[in-house]
């Protein structure tokens, strides 16, 4: 998992079967890119935090 998200800090990624197929600054952007690549399988979205965002007070 650790390496999977390398290079995507601060972005939303769209995955199919645990493989990243698209990314964007918003969920919508990632979704729109992903739909052009794979419009049939269920998409999974993850926000990849920056280093500062991994220590939170929510």
């Amino acid at each position: 998992m650790k390496n999977l998200f390398k290079g995507y800090s601060g972005q939303y990624v769209a995955m199919v079967n645990k493989k990243i197929i698209a990314s964007g600054k918003t969920t919508l952007e990632a979704y729109q890119k992903a739909k052009k690549i794979n419009s049939t399988e269920m998409l999974s979205f993850t926000y990849v935090p920056t280093k500062k965002e991994t220590i939170t007070f929510l």
């Binding site: 601060g10 926000y47 935090p49 939170t56």
Partner: protein, 138 residues
């Protein structure tokens, strides 16, 4: 059901997969478990991909961690968590200051017992079924 913590930048975060049924089927969001949040909250653009008209939700105001207030539209949505399907109120906001999708207590923590074992890197979800006005732990 148990989930492993997810590692980001050397930190382990309590993030679990939550499915939401939209107009064109199920979508999965990896959500941050926030026991301090009253509601589950997503950025407003997530409503669009789920197929919702954001402003048709119930508008409410919520207080966030820095003391500010944000406007949130609440929608009732079919969810699937730890293999169980149910309806829950989910909030969407243009003012959410964090990138994470937040899983809060409303309509979720009344259905699951959530245990965070930080040192054994396990999260356990036990579902509580309402059956003949009795609650059973399964």
């Amino acid at each position: 059901m148990k989930f492993s913590y997810q590692y980001f930048e050397g930190q382990k975060l309590p993030i679990v997969p939550l499915k939401i049924k939209g107009t064109s089927g199920w979508l999965e969001f990896n959500v941050y478990i926030d026991t301090g949040a009253s509601y589950s909250l997503f950025p407003a653009d997530a409503a669009e991909i789920i197929g919702l008209e954001l402003e048709k939700g119930d508008l409410t105001e919520m207080t966030v961690g820095d003391g500010n207030h944000i406007q949130v539209y609440i929608h009732n949505l079919p969810l699937s968590l730890a293999g169980k399907e149910f309806i829950a109120r989910i909030g969407f906001s243009k003012g959410l200051g964090v990138g994470f999708y937040i899983m809060g207590r409303k309509d979720i923590f009344d259905k699951f017992i959530v245990c965070l074992y930080y040192f054994t890197i396990l999260k356990r979800f036990n579902y509580i079924l309402q059956h003949r006005n009795l609650y059973e732990l399964v």
